[in-house]
Every structure is written in C-alpha cells, then in structure tokens.
C-alpha cells in the first residue's frame, strides 16, 4: 500500500486521492484471479461524474473472479508531489500501483485528455509504447467515444474496445482467465482477443501513407484479423446491468446526483454529432424498470436528486408519465428529479417547470445555428418558432435568464448565419422584456463553440474553419452582441483546432502525443493548464502539421484513418447525408417510424427498443 500521509497535507483537495466512499468495493486481492484498473484521464471530480465508470465498476465487481479499482489523473500539484516522492500512479481502493493490475482500461471521453493518458502511463512507470512493454506488465486497453478514431493512440494502447462495454468486458475477462492470466503472455492474449467482436488490436494492422499525406492503405497483417472491427451494442437494454449501488463521492463532484439512464442512443441525426451515431440504435428502458431502479438508487445512495440521463431525455417516449410517477414516489423524502438537458420546445420547458424544485436561475437551449437554412444543413430539427415558444414559456414561468448554445464554423456557414445568431439572441431578449422580466435580472447568454469535424458523422469529410476565420467570427459576434442583457461566451479556438487535428488524426500523431507529454502537456481541457505553444512545439519536433489534419477536405473515396473502425452506420448513408446537408434537406428521426436507411440495424442485427420493446421502422422505398 502506497503511503500518502506525507504528501496529502500539501495538496489541494486531498479527498480526491483517498477513496473510502460509500459503496466502494474493496475485494480480497489474493483471492481474486483477475484484477482490472479503470483509469480516468482527468481529475476525480470529472471522472466520478461519468456514468460509464459506475456501470463498468458494477459489472466487473459483480463477478466473483474479478475486481475493478479506480485511478484518476492526479492534479498537477499532486503529480509534482508524487514524482518528488517517487510514488507511482495508484488506485484508490487498495492504494496499489496500477502497474500491479492485470488490465488497465482507459476511457477516452474527449481528445484533449489524450496527453493525460500518456502522462498516467508514465506516472505508473509503464513504457508508453506498447511495443516496448514486455510480458509480466499489465495490458493497456481503452474505450469510449474517442476509441472510434483510436489511431493517434494506436502506438500506446494494446487493444481498443469499440462500443458499449457491458458485455464485451465479460468476454475479455473470461479470455484473460482462460488464457491463464499473466503467464499466457501479451501476444497470446491479443491473438485470441482479436477474435472477440468489437476488439481492435492496432499492432495487427499496417498503415501506409500516400505522398500527399493521405492514407494509402490499412491492412490486417494476418488473415484471422478482421478488416473492419464493428462496435458492440447491448441488446435488451431494459435488462442490461445497471448500478443501483453506485459510488457516492464524499467530495463535491461535477454531477453530484444519482444518475438513472432512461435510454441509450439518439436518432435525431444532427449531422455534426458523433454521439448520435456511435450510440445507435435508440433503446429505451420500460417505466417499470426505471421506477424500480430509481427507488433502489435513492435507497442505496441517499442522494437528494435523481437525474434522468440520456442524450435527449425529453425524447423518451413516456417521459411525462415517468417523471410524474417518480415525483409521487419521492414526495416526502426530500428527493428531487431533474433533466440534464432540454429540447428546444415548449413541452420540455413545461416539464422542467413542473419538476424543478430547485429553481435554477437559467434554462439552456441549443439551437446550434442562427438561420433555418443552416439548421436544415445540420439537420437540427428546430425552428425559430420552437425556440420562441420555449423561451416564452420559460420567461412566463419565471426563469429570468436563458442560455443559448451555438456552433460557429459549421459547413456552408455565411455571414448571414452569423448575423442570425445575434438576431435570434436579440429576439429572445425582446421576448423577455415583453414578458416583463425585471430588467436587472433578464439575461440572455450566447455560447459559441467552434465546429470540430468528427469521424463517423456526415461532416467527417469537412475541413474545420481556419483559426483566423474563427477568431474573426468570434470578434464579429462579440460586437454584434453588445447590449445590456446580452452576454457572449466563446471557446478558445486553439483548443478546437487541436481537437480537430486529433479527432481526425492518424497513427503518425502518436509521435506528437509522445513529444507533447514530454514537453509537459496535461489537462489540456483545463484553460489554466493548456498551452498552445507547447503543442505547436510538439508538432514542430515531429515535422507534422496540425493544419493538414484539421483543414483537410477529404473526398468520398479517400481512405479515412478510421475506415477500419465500424460504428454500424454505412459510409454510403453518411455520403447520402452529407449530400442532403449540402442541399439543405432534413432527414427525419427513425423514432417517427420511417427508416432513413443508416444501415445500422441490419449490420448489427439489432432493432430500436422503444418503451422496452423492439420496434420495426418501416424501411424507406430504397435503402442505399
């Protein structure tokens, strides 16, 4: 057990590093054959807000033969103390070095955490490159949304897990045990793991490059390695394992409440959205299951708030009924129900008004674009009337402040679309005045993030706007939104630029990541730690250009760095969607009953599950 007594008094928030939370599982190390560490490449408060951690912790620790413990990235002060004292990265449960575990699983939630993945390996005393790791050490795997373009991390991770982890983790743990644990050797394990659907072993593929910097080919090295690795999805989601005894942090975390996942997947089909593709198809749980899980959650955690989480909870087919039964169920227990995000319509606001006991001062909506034309391009099925109805209901119900989320730099964006953002914001402000919201409290906040093209979306071929253009657009909006009652927030365009380079990057970026870690890059998602200069230096040292990744416009027939990774949606469909985007034609949600032909259901042999039952969306006349 690693002794932290000397260093904990010297760091901020030492509770991040000590564990001991309610519902923590600490198993007998010597009696448990397979040991896995869950590594979250960010601080405790972020990692503990992540439902995936709680689900996998529950799945692994429910087995008698396996255990899972947690490791988080130590904040910079703690890292400095650990390095000074020669202490390696450790888990909270048994305070053992992560190096002592059989498997270490990283979750990749955002590109800007990649430097933390490398830094955590380094802090653990594990060679960064998979090729430099011999037998006897732990196997390093990674999953999560960024595993859908795993190439920048290909040199450092032994294998990637694509898609949902609940079932495939069992396959992996069984295999590890059957292989005889550590005695089998890494090569033997990987050779067998590659036969499990959803497992991608990057060292079993060879990538060649063209003279112009594009990908020439991606080939499996041997015949038993699949050319395309397709994601895993959980069938019968209503019966999927769900942690009703999650860890309850003793330190305030980002999402400090019980999380009840009401459904998985969202098929609205916003064309910029990667989550909408990688979590397909939509699968709802039944109200009966949710009621039982909610009761259990509250009993086992003591949380005073239960959040109905999903990508778009207002789309849950029986959300109204569910919310009301939960409110009745918890009346008198001092437990409130909340929705993590709202759809842009009056229904969502009315629902929020009924359930929000704690009247937060603002409501947030995401119209994403300033004109109907551009909203049709991105397939955000929201009209100006929807937005005005929503904000009107909100002001009328007593919310004095509205936040509006937009993206700038979307494909086909013109000056008119930018002007549209300012015009919409002013219209919302005028509505607030009209509804007699007190002048001093009325506030409309506009947040503009920069569009980042993401793999597996209809916009994966699109270039990102140049830094100078993004800065110019931000400056324009800053000017256009100068008025009492309007507030403008924007994101650092340099972060979005690197995000684009990493999200569409290939294997060569591994060199850049290695340099970046060496130069001290970490916590790049935190503005106090992010340094664009350090990243530029890392690129310079390797001779690679981030602009070539972020600004490249791919052709439909180009080989993309992630072409051997399958999210289940066909490339033909994405091309069709891209073409529809360019001509401003919307595509309806398959929930409405008409299948737009994304190809996922036949490929994965799965069907959407609405209200706990499988449904058949009628096929369109021709599926491309």
């Amino acid at each position: 057990m690693i002794n932290l007594e000397k260093i904990l008094p010297r760091v901020q928030k030492p509770a991040r590093y000590v564990g001991g939370e309610w519902n923590m599982v600490r198993k007998d190390w010597d009696k448990t054959p397979v040991k896995m560490a869950f590594a979250f490449p960010d601080v405790y408060e972020v990692g503990m807000s992540h439902l995936g951690l709680q689900i996998l912790y529950h799945v692994v620790n429910s087995r008698p033969d396996t255990l899972m413990e947690r490791a988080f990235a130590p904040w910079v002060d703690m890292e400095a103390e650990m390095r000074k004292a020669g202490l390696p990265l450790f888990t909270l449960e048994s305070r053992r070095p992560v190096k002592d575990f059989d498997l270490i699983g990283f979750t990749l939630q955002y590109e800007m955490s990649f430097s933390n993945v490398l830094n955590m390996l380094d802090l653990a005393g594990i060679p960064l490159r998979a090729a430099d790791r011999g037998n006897g050490g732990p196997l390093i795997c990674a999953g999560g949304p960024c595993a859908f373009n795993p190439e920048p991390l290909a040199d450092f991770i032994d294998f990637f897990v694509l898609g949902e982890g609940e079932e495939v983790l069992h396959d992996l743990l069984d295999l590890y045990r059957d292989c005889g644990g550590r005695t089998a050797g890494r090569a033997e394990f990987l050779r067998r793991a590659v036969r499990i659907p959803g497992i991608y072993v990057p060292s079993f593929y060879r990538v060649t490059y063209r003279e112009d910097g594009g990908i020439g080919s991606i080939h499996p090295l041997t015949a038993d390695v699949p050319e395309l690795v397709t994601k895993r999805v959980v069938r019968g989601f209503d019966r999927a394992p769900f942690p009703t005894r999650p860890l309850v942090p003793s330190l305030g975390v980002v999402h400090d409440r019980a999380m009840l996942e009401v459904q998985r997947g969202c098929t609205r089909g916003c064309r910029f959205c990667q989550a909408g593709v990688i979590y397909r198809p939509v699968r709802e749980k039944s109200p009966a299951t949710l009621r039982a899980q909610a009761a259990d959650l509250v009993r086992q955690t003591g949380f005073d708030e239960i959040s109905l989480v999903s990508l778009s909870t207002a789309d849950y087919s029986r959300v109204d009924e569910l919310v009301h039964t939960l409110l009745d169920q918890f009346a008198g227990l001092g437990v409130s129900v909340s929705l993590p995000s709202l759809r842009v319509d009056a229904f969502s606001v009315a629902l929020a008004r009924e359930i929000q006991r704690v009247r937060r001062s603002s409501l947030t909506f995401a119209p994403e674009a300033g004109t109907q034309r551009l909203r049709d391009v991105i397939n955000k099925g929201v009209t100006e009337e929807d937005l005005m109805a929503a904000v009107s209901t909100a002001f009328g119900a007593g919310w004095p402040a509205i936040k509006l989320y937009f993206m700038i730099g979307l494909p086909t964006e013109t000056d008119d679309d930018l002007a549209g953002i300012a015009r919409l914001a002013r219209r919302v402000l005028a509505e607030g005045r009209c509804q007699k919201v007190p002048r001093g409290r009325l506030k409309v906040t506009v947040s503009a993030s920069s569009f980042v093209p993401k793999p597996h979306t209809a916009f994966q071929w699109e270039p990102q706007d140049r830094l100078a253009e993004l800065r110019g657009k931000q400056a324009y909006l800053r000017d256009a939104l100068k008025e009492k009652g309007l507030v403008f927030h924007w994101h650092e365009p340099e972060v979005s630029f690197l995000e684009a380079a990493l999200s569409r990057g290939d294997r060569r970026l591994g060199m850049v990541l290695e340099e970046a870690q060496r130069l001290g890059c970490r916590f790049d998602g935190w503005s106090e730690c992010f340094s664009f200069d350090r990243w530029r230096e890392a690129f310079r040292r390797t001779g690679l250009e981030p602009a070539r990744y972020a600004y490249r416009r791919y052709n439909y027939d180009d080989i993309l760095p992630w072409d051997h990774i399958g999210a289940g949606v066909s490339k033909a469909y994405l091309i069709k969607e891209h073409r529809r985007a360019m001509s401003g034609r919307p595509t309806p949600d398959c929930r409405a009953g008409k299948c737009p032909g994304c190809g996922l259901c036949p490929t994965l042999e799965i069907k959407p599950e609405i209200d706990g039952r499988e449904i058949n969306a009628p096929l369109p006349d021709q599926v491309q």
Partner: protein, 227 residues
C-alpha cells in the same frame, strides 16, 4: 421535535473531507439510514442537523458532535446504530443521546477543544529542553499572531488567553503535544498557531510542513456528557 446528540469520529480517509462535503456526506448517510428526518422549509429542503465545530481539512476528530432533529421519537441507540451502518469509511458513531428541546444550540455550547499534535523535529531534544520550551510559551504575557481577515487585511491577535493547557513528551524523532485551546463562538485558537509560536518564540526545532493534528475532544458548556 425530538433532538439527538450524536457523538462521532472522523479519521483515516474521512479526515480529508471538507466541512461542506461532510455536511453532504452526513445528509446522504441519514437518508440511507431511513431516519425520519425533519426537513427545512423552502425550495431546497435539507434535513435539520448541525455540527458542534467544523474540522479543518486533514485534521482528524476523535470525539465530535452533531445535533439531529427527527419527526418522531426513536430510541437513541437505534438512531446511533442505523446511522453508524450507513457511514463511509473513516466516519464512526460512538453513541447518541436525546437532548432537551430547550437546550442551547450545539455550536453555541462549544468552549474548548483538546488536540494531540505530532511534531517532527529538525534536531533531537531532551525532555528537559522540551519542558523549558513549553514553559517559555506559557510564561509569556501575550502571544501575538497575525491573522488574515476575510478582506485580506492583517490583524494582530493574542492567543495566550486561549491556551488553557499545554503538555508534551518526546516520542522518538517527534514530539507529542497535548493542548486545550479556546474554541467556539467566543473565538478559536488553532494548534498550528501554538506550534508556530513555540518554534518562533521559544526555539522548538520544528520541521516545517509535517504536522499531524488530531482533535481529541470538545468541551461543551455545562459539560454535557454523552453515552
């Protein structure tokens, strides 16, 4: 409403929980324990309980108190047992007793706190030298420390009247000090201030940055004892 005084300890991992987080941690534990809690009125109801005195982050507490209100009378030992079974690592309940409704607020009854402080030494010390050192401090007419006010201004404060007892012994490479200091609404003297004064004014060879502080007890007005 029936009121209970809970005696608890905060040690090990739990001593790093901040006071604000401790409030939340107890609130959740009480809900898990299924106690018939009294909720505050308003938009955001919270169970009604209050602590005797907050503990700074990193300081362990061996005999801490909180007062809790319930909507119905339960046997005190049942309250203690149920709560004890629902606390995370490092928090334990030693007992509970009913408190009369007219009793003053717990926080207002705190008068003194006992501490045990482990001090690492830069150089060896004889027991005689240690005694001299402690005697030196206790014989000073005043011990002035500088405190920062909330606005960031510096203010002088004499801690000497708030030091009621100070003894110590050598324990290998460290000194073990026991002190009774003023605590509560009348003012607080912090053990770190006493150590700094011992080092600065009386020559105790303290190794900086290596203090371990345990609050061993709280003295309440009327000396109400608890099961």
């Amino acid at each position: 409403m029936p009121r209970y005084r809970i005696k608890f300890s905060k040690q090990g991992a739990a001593r790093f929980i901040s006071h604000l987080d401790l409030v939340r941690t107890f609130e959740r534990a009480m809900r898990r324990a299924g106690l018939p809690l009294v909720f505050s009125q308003g938009f955001n109801p919270h169970p009604r309980f209050s602590f005797a005195a907050p503990l700074p982050v990193g300081v362990a507490g061996e005999q801490e108190y909180l007062d809790l209100e319930l909507v119905e009378a339960w046997p005190a030992d049942a309250v203690a047992r149920r709560l004890a079974a629902c606390l995370p690592e490092g928090l334990t309940v030693a007992g509970a007793c009913p408190v009369p409704g007219h009793a003053p607020a717990l926080m207002a009854s705190v008068q003194r706190a006992d501490y045990r402080v482990h001090v690492q030494l830069k150089e060896a010390l004889t027991p005689e030298q240690l005694d001299e050192c402690l005697h030196c401090l206790l014989s000073l007419p005043e011990v002035t420390v500088i405190r920062k006010t909330r606005e960031g201004k510096e203010k002088f404060y004499d801690i000497r009247p708030g030091i009621f007892n100070l003894t110590g012994r050598i324990d290998g490479p460290e000194v073990l000090l026991a002190m009774t200091l003023q605590a509560g609404s009348g003012g607080n003297v912090r053990p770190e201030e006493v150590i700094a004064a011992l080092a600065g004014k009386c020559g105790l060879p303290v190794l900086p940055g290596a203090l371990e502080i345990v609050r061993t007890g709280l003295l309440l007005a009327g000396d109400e004892t608890i099961a």
